[in-house]
Symmetry: D2
Subunit: 183 residues, 4 copies
């Protein structure tokens, strides 16, 4: 049996593919910030960057990115057979495999991620809008992948913020308890 492809190779390829197609982690972080700032007053852009970066560590998302961008590029090069070539090229409204692939990796971050993904799919924000408007390249799959990563990072952050909040509360309790023990 052949040695399986190393995780590092897959992760690096996915990150490189995103970059080559014009998507920076900063672009994704901006969407995350826009989605989550209303719920977390102390949210920083660094939190959002960190969360988007963490999401990109998951195999499920790396695989989705590799497949989606490959299909976009093959479509650009007119290397798909018909009628698939036309379906993807025209970003046909009833074609949903792009959303399906993106959804697969969104599920990993719970129902907030799924609803945020749906929202971003309709209200194309930031880089998603830019990809959607780019008429020279095919981004039928990429826009959904970016929405997927941003949605996942948003949900991940919502959970983290809560954990942080609760821990702070626990720390405070602990500190109070410690202080009560003093003397």
């Amino acid at each position: 049996m052949k040695k399986p492809v190393s995780c590092d190779v897959v992760e690096n390829a996915a990150r490189k593919a995103l970059k080559e197609r014009g998507v920076l982690i900063d672009d994704i972080a901006e969407i995350v910030y826009e989605m989550q700032a209303q719920y977390s007053p102390n949210l920083t852009m660094d939190d959002c960057y960190e969360s988007a970066d963490a999401v990109l560590c998951k195999r499920e998302i790396q695989h989705a990115v590799l497949v989606g961008i490959e299909l976009d590029k093959l479509t650009e090069k007119k290397q798909l057979s018909e009628p698939l070539q036309s379906l993807i090229e025209s970003d046909e409204g009833l074609f949903g495999v792009d959303e399906t692939i993106a959804l697969g990796s969104v599920f990993g971050f719970g129902s907030i991620a799924v609803t945020t993904f749906g929202y971003l799919d309709k209200e194309k924000k930031g880089i998603i809008k830019k990809l959607d408007n780019n008429k020279e390249q095919v981004h039928t799959f990429l826009d959904d992948l970016v929405a997927s990563i941003a949605a996942s990072a948003s949900a991940r952050l919502a959970h983290r913020m809560r954990d942080r909040e609760e821990n702070k509360r626990k720390d405070q309790i602990k500190k109070r308890e410690d202080e009560e023990l003093i003397g």
Copy 2:
């Protein structure tokens, strides 16, 4: 083995439950119209009503409605054990079983349905907004169920409009072909 519950009984119960909790098919049709009118210039409110009504014929949705409304009502009557009672009563942000149950029946109508559901979950339109603002009753599950039915009806309609369009085109072709055969 006991005779299974008849489908009619389940369907009637689900429709009655929605009505009793203040949700009319017309309310759902309005959301569907708002979501789909931009894509289908000839869309009528009757199309939207018919689509919402058709979605309610599916078992998956009827079951989801029965479970969700039951949990809302039990919560109102303080009949759930803690901490579930508090989680549902406060419509806790990280509690996602309401979305999960609603999503289960959305999947049946494809990826457009899923993204529309996500959108409606964020941008609470029409009756969903009203349910969300109602502070006297518990609608933790119902708002998602309504979003689910509206999203499913929207997706169903998108597919129907396309079918209708293509058939018209075929009819036109057929007519032209028929006319060419005349004489």
Copy 3:
């Protein structure tokens, strides 16, 4: 705007692609029969064929079939970039985009479809086994697509059988009522 690809073209392409890759509707019907016969004593192979055929009328499944088989064929021809080429070629265990694409169209037939899909994915039956054992061709996506169609057709059938049963019961009641009215 370009005219969208006609539904008939998409449907014919999907059916042709399955056939060319060695999958007949009869093969799928056999799996459906094996899955459902235990629940429905009167089930015929014709019921199963009809159900598999009906599932193939859905856009969601046609699109999934086109994308999946395209990726299998491109992999066979070594036309994908690395590391995706190796991931698909080796049918890497942690690569799940094939299941994700297949799942997308399974959801349309409810939770029985999802669990049946999961079962078929583990216990490779009939043609799925044959595809999996075929070492000359790449069927990384196709085996999941077949499991998806078979699972959807099984769930569809379970719902149909129940409808049929209930209608028979209603007919019987109706007949009894009619007879009671006689004379």
Copy 4:
């Protein structure tokens, strides 16, 4: 605004509920072992226990457990309204809300988790079989929840084993490199 329910309270309640309904983490670990041993020759029962325990730390699963067991218990006490009471009591074949709730938390662990869940739903193993055969209590939701936790723990383990494997390989490479540097 009321203080949200603390995570610890939710987690403890979910763990206690499982235990009270007769499900130990050891029972779940056994299923995990049976599912994964074939893929990982060095797998220990401790690995499986640890993985099942880790899955129970996720909010999504805790919430699903709380809702599902609550519905089972309310059904036992005949406190649900009809026809929902009968649907759950009879574990009606076409009722899928139990699978939907369980699936919601399975998605978090990728497509291997989903297919393993489907398999366990059909081939009721260990404690799942026991719950299914228990005619004195209602376990319509619990059997799916256990399948969900076991499936998630299995998928989590599959990913962990791979990570472990790759790290070992890296360690070996590192050691070799270090040795080559010696002298």
